[in-house]
Assembly symmetry: C2
Homo-oligomer: 280 residues x 2
């Protein structure tokens, strides 16, 4: 009961921080940066932080913990896999739009692309996310993928999923830093520069903190093995024939660790459950 309360508190904190992040980035671009448009100018650029925050931080973070929600434990495995894959596909689409916006803006203003550390890590994260989605779909959703491949790949999928989310947070914090320095500088059309801490800088720094703490909540929830979806509540038995080494005792003992790569150990658990545990 104590642990359940902790889970609910952390989940509510994550939801609140995700909402705060979304609100802060919208206030930033709508109130201080002129709003949103698709004009190859600064208003088009503004889609980049908005979609980056909503897509790669809020939605992709929530996708990492979607299997942990106890209210979904009666849903079928296939449904949960599709929700997880769907959220990550939405993230990918939003990130492609956000990249088109920033490349359009750069090209129209003759600003070089891909020179900053933010752009290197950010684009690498989007490409890795795309590969992660593609491999995840092929391996966990195609019915004919051999179970030993699922078991081998699952631990890599889990670690890289968390790592890509970490890269997204790093890219977001660097992007905030870049944008505040470029826009709030002496000589540009602002009353106070970044170093004089105007209200815009305070709000956007706060956005950076919201993103960081949101990430902390997601990582905490995603690394607690006792909050995993219980295997015995799996309703969908479509792939039972793929579980040659099912050992009910192991499964019910809940002795699975959150080791991200231990294929030999994974083979002792319920292999039917492999796809479902892709975010643990």
């Amino acid at each position: 009961m104590e642990k359940s309360r902790q889970f609910v508190a952390l989940l509510l904190a994550a939801l609140w921080l995700g909402t705060l992040s979304t609100a802060a980035v919208l206030i930033w671009v709508l109130h201080w940066r002129g709003g949103l448009a698709w004009d190859s100018g600064l208003l088009e650029f503004n889609w980049h932080p908005v979609l980056g925050t909503i897509g790669f931080i809020v939605i992709s973070g929530f996708a990492l913990i979607v299997y942990r929600l106890p209210w979904t434990w009666n849903f079928s495995k296939s449904l949960m896999k599709n929700i997880h894959a769907g959220l990550n596909t939405v993230t990918f689409i939003l990130m492609v739009i956000s990249l088109v916006a920033v490349f359009d803006f750069h090209n129209s203003k003759k600003i070089p692309n891909m020179y900053s550390l933010h752009s290197w890590i950010g684009l690498a994260a989007v490409i890795m996310h795309a590969l992660q989605v593609a491999l995840g779909l092929c391996i966990f959703l195609l019915p004919f993928t051999p179970v030993y491949i699922k078991a081998f790949y699952m631990s890599i999928h889990v670690f890289t999923g968390l790592f890509i989310f970490g890269m997204a947070i790093i890219a977001a914090e660097m992007g905030i830093t870049e944008k505040l320095i470029f826009t709030l500088r002496s000589g540009s059309n602002v009353t106070l520069s970044y170093s004089q801490s105007p209200p815009e800088a305070m709000l956007v720094n706060a956005l950076g903190i919201f993103i960081l703490v949101y990430g902390g909540c997601i990582f905490w929830i995603a690394t607690q093995s006792e909050w995993k979806r219980p295997p015995e509540q799996v309703k969908d038995n479509t792939s039972t024939e793929e579980a040659p080494t099912l050992n009910k005792t192991n499964v019910l003992e809940g002795s699975m660790d959150c080791d991200l790569e231990s294929t030999p150990r994974l083979r002792q658990i319920n292999l039917e459950d492999v796809g479902q545990r892709a975010t643990f």
Copy 2:
């Protein structure tokens, strides 16, 4: 054997990336930024990235995996705890010097302190690291701390240790971004600005990638439960009397998960081993 090779490969990669990061930051400040001095000017500022990289990234990252080295598994628990605490104390001292350097520089140049997101997250990380070291020393190294407090705190210590290391990486990447924008700009004493990708920018962007991938190696090693120090090889029995619920079967089965907060489960494992597992 396969897993041992993976461990050695990852450890060598981490050592190589830590060395590359140290070399890159030294080349940066010595070749392009005028070197190091304690003059309240730019040369004093240069201690900030150098000590930040060596202390908060390389040393503090290595401290996270020090219990995982198989060559140390015959060393006593107390020795390993002291090595872990010692490395983190060295990190703290280096970070204090690196902060004094940057505050000195800012004050002498009348640049405001603590306005940037880098400074907010970086200082928060140093303060949290200091608290982590202090609490770790009190709880895991003082002999009279009750075992139930060690067991309760251990999982928090593990998560916050990894989270603070993540904050250090984020702060480093933002610091690199800030410094490159401030120094490589049109009008300052440089031939090419950051957006024109001069060699200095390429090297320092590469430093950011080395730091990121080093962090990835450390997180991978630190989250593999099968690479934990085996409890049965504990040589130091000084606190055997503190292990009221020792269950040899559980310990030898290696059924401990890397759940970071599951106090009830922890109480079923060898409580003597609690301090030792503080980095897992």
